[in-house]
Symmetry: C2
Subunit: 557 residues, 2 copies
């Protein structure tokens, strides 16, 4: 009996940083690893979130054996509610597995969407789980959130491993380094395919340990005379622990500010990932009851997010914390590419208030959660995979990861530089890319989701660039003659008050076009509107050198 074909189809995370989602398929049965989202860029007007295009799964919902989530970050877990809602009850019948913290975060997201019927199940690393033709196992890794795991998927063809986000931190804050022994064991037994994190494939050497950050924070704190505000990712629970420890060591109280910060510390402490000594925490409204040198605030907003607590504080717009000169703000995080401007603007506001600002340029108060080049090579050497498909990176990082694989001795023909929608197909004969599948982006706008090519977004671009002209012409149903003066309305077209006469001229153009239409006995409203549009657009461009949207409305009475 010959074996089947393993298909590994990335629906996100390839050629981009974000919205990780990979479909593993064997014998017609599917396991989905990660269901992540991305945040929109500035040109995605009015869009709230970006999801991977999961059309491939729409027809296959009943073939899904389960979902496995590597860890609780938005780019791995965040799309879960949308995907579950859209794929319907067949997909929701398949359980979702992950570490306890990951599942608690997933539950919190699903609750917000009132999706009660999704089965979330904790999976402990090392436990083997049968999901159709696959045996699935989590391997404990270290990252900037607890409970981060690699996923092993074995089928009769062999063993695949998708690393999730990881670093080989030898001194993690919780004392539990990545399970190198299990990785080595897998490598010894033979690994068919490695899909590894490429995030820091452009950084030489080894990433610094998370536990090195704590002493640095304490050192920085010890030099501060006023209040201290530390901002970091709310999900970086071990970082929050280290801030708490440093505050404790220096006799300062700690206050948590920002909804997600409080939520994550709450979940994290329920699950034993964070220890807060009794009496250390104070409510934000109590901060002013303590002397300045007795307070550390831990806040959201390290990315300059518009509604975050720190951004509000920087704009003097936070209900409970008002910053003052001589407060020190510590950015215990680096800006995600694209957020630089928002972060810089926040920092500048803080300087304007008179605060001191400490970033990673001033002191090593942050450590990346992703392994550097030597760690990526260690992973390759531990697993010695037959095939390698780098994931989780833009084209550059995937390219550099491929070079690292080559450097560790993987045959270049066994390294696959994939793309979203391009399935890697492996059988007894070998591995190759298969037929391209639908992939791309889905936009979330409010509560709805849709196609980014949607005409609405094109319209928004046009409206945002040059505004809109609306002309309402009322014509007689008998002879097409204009029966009321045309209404001319514009929005988003600047500086028109300076050219009052223009509106009059536009009315003349409309009247002229209508007269022409009447003369030509043009009775099809659509045609009249088209004529009006063309005449008006030409006139407006000639006069304003701009191309606002021109929208003629012809009302027949």
């Amino acid at each position: 009996m010959s074996l089947g074909t393993l298909r590994v189809l990335p629906l996100g995370g390839m050629g981009e940083i974000g919205k990780n989602m990979t479909v593993f398929e064997y014998d017609g049965r599917i396991v989905v690893v990660d269901v992540g989202l991305r945040f929109p860029t500035a040109d995605m007007l009015g869009i709230d979130l970006v999801l991977p295009d999961f059309s491939y799964l729409r027809e296959r919902a009943q073939d899904i054996e389960g979902f496995v989530i590597t860890h609780g970050h938005e780019d791995h877990l965040g799309a879960l509610p949308w995907v579950m809602r859209e794929l319907g009850p067949d997909a929701r019948a398949a359980p979702v597995y992950g570490g306890p913290l990951t599942m608690a975060m997933g539950r919190s997201k699903l609750d917000e969407h009132r999706l009660k019927d999704v089965r979330l199940e904790d999976l402990e690393p090392g436990r083997e789980l049968e999901l159709g033709p696959f045996v699935v196992e989590l391997v404990h890794m270290t990252h900037s959130i607890p409970d981060a795991c690699a996923v092993v998927l074995s089928c009769e063809l062999g063993t695949s491993l998708i690393s999730g986000d990881y670093k080989f931190d030898q001194t993690p804050v919780d004392g539990e380094p990545a399970d190198v022994a299990r990785l080595a064991e897998l490598g010894r037994d033979g690994v068919l395919l490695l899909c590894g994190d490429s995030t820091n494939a452009d950084r030489a050497g080894w990433s610094p340990s998370e536990s090195g950050v704590g002493p640095q924070l304490e050192e920085v704190f010890s030099r501060c005379e006023g209040r201290i505000v530390v901002t970091s990712f709310a999900s970086n629970i071990h970082r929050v622990q280290q801030v708490i420890d440093a505050a404790l060591a220096l006799g300062r109280k700690v206050s948590l500010v920002g909804r997600s910060m409080r939520k994550n510390v709450n979940i994290g402490s329920q699950l034993g990932h964070i220890e807060v000594p009794d009496g250390l925490l104070v409510q934000p409204r109590e901060i002013d009851d303590f002397p300045d040198h007795k307070v550390v605030v831990i806040s959201t907003g390290s990315q300059g997010e518009p509604l975050s607590a720190l951004r509000r504080m920087a704009h003097n717009d936070h209900r409970q914390v008002t910053l003052r000169p001589h407060d020190t703000i510590v950015f215990s995080a680096t800006p995600i590419p694209g957020n630089e401007r928002a972060v810089n603007e926040t920092i500048d506001r803080l300087y304007q208030i008179g605060c001191e600002v400490i970033t990673t340029r001033d002191a090593p108060v942050h450590a990346s959660g992703h392994g550097y080049q030597e760690e990526i090579k260690l992973m390759l050497n531990l697993l010695r995979p037959r095939y390698v498909m780098p994931v989780h990176g833009d084209v550059k990082r995937i390219h550099l990861h491929a070079q690292l694989a080559e450097a560790t001795g993987v045959d270049p023909t066994d390294i696959f530089r994939g793309e979203n929608g391009l399935p890697l197909e492996i059988d007894e004969q070998g591995a190759r890319f298969g037929e391209r599948q639908q992939s791309g982006m889905i936009f979330v706008d409010g509560v709805d989701i849709g196609d980014p090519a949607d005409v609405a977004l094109r319209d928004r671009r046009m409206l945002s660039a040059d505004g809109i002209f609306i002309v309402v012409a009322t014509i007689s149903g008998q002879d097409g003659a204009s029966v009321a003066a045309p209404e001319v309305i514009f929005r988003g077209v600047p500086f028109l008050d300076e050219a009052d006469g223009l509106v009059e001229e536009i009315r003349d153009v409309v009247e002229g076009s209508l007269a022409q239409a009447a003369k030509e006995q043009m009775r099809e409203i659509d045609l009249v509107q088209q004529l009006l549009h063309d005449d008006l657009a030409a006139f407006v461009y000639e006069r304003l050198r701009r191309r606002p949207m021109v929208l003629p409305v012809v009302v027949e009475v």
Copy 2:
């Protein structure tokens, strides 16, 4: 006889990087130093350029003795055409002074705006020029463009110096270091006020020399087997020279791609700032006549600008240059804050083609044009100014520059952390900030300029976020009854096809509102429209959870 008051009013460049413009005023007469612009951020929808608000000068045009431009970069020179056009003939009667290259670049800009009546006059460093109560002198400095100068303005109260952009490059490419001797002389004779560049006030040490970049470029080039494309700022003429020299040394031809690259090299070589050996340059269309290892392309697009040559090449959309695998792209520039995403996207496209990409992370192929902390301190020590007002920087950098001034022994009370619109006023008694003057941004949209608070921009933001609903109701002039079915049109409101019934429902809402208006004998069209707007907006929000612009048009027949 007591002396008057010197007023130094920054209209731009304070608390921001860009649009530098400073007004020096004594005895009712004005000299303006620099007239720069900024580029819009993503939230400035449809805006092309940002100018300093120069309202202060509108009433004072006849008091302007002259304009002095420190160097030819856009953030110092770029607003000149707009300011000259807006301030009218009185301002245009005042000459514009600067180095020959600066004036040539200014002329080229004014020509594009067909402003023929502006007097541009070359001013050689060291020559003293009387401008009303001021004696003005340029001091030769080094920067990332030739002809960069500091401006000395002396009046009977004392001597001010505004540094322009500078570094103390000991081995500049043209062999002419900054005129330290003249600065020292000025310091010995006594300097009242220093307004110094703060750009790199956050970088410790000394900036690397421009001439160190050439050997690095040659080293990188020597490892390339395919074609080489170098991208840099077109105005960085000495950088272009060094690329040319490296190409020459390795026997490669050079082709200039991008309009501004060709223009600047042309101007630069006419003025003797760049030497191109005969026969070295080839036309872009001739590139394919040479073997790959014999070609270097110098291209615009180092900032990922949408229409630039490199961005077009990366998108396979350049008429003359088609990139191929094994071409090497060298970014001899770093992204200006805010441009990171555009640059990263371009780089990723290049990797997708299969190109190699070299940035400053891979090799020191760029040197900043702005002095680091030790250079800022050297400037302070040379001039030993009585008062210091750091300029040309965001709040953070101005704050750090102020700290450097303090470190060199300037009394903290003599250091002024200024803001746009806040004049520093100096007289025999001392120095202090005076009454705040109008300042801020002016937006350029197409050919027009206007206020950023313009309602058009607010409308664009609303339109871009959620789109627009237009409802046209036709009512009888007699009794206000609806005489035709309401027209419902929407643009930029997504996913409505899925909710076809909605348009019907909206019609019902409109009919209902109209019936109510008729019943209440509401005959004022404005009131009817307001009622329609409120009813519709409430309905749409309830159904779509979105707030598109709602625009009711009531036509009475």
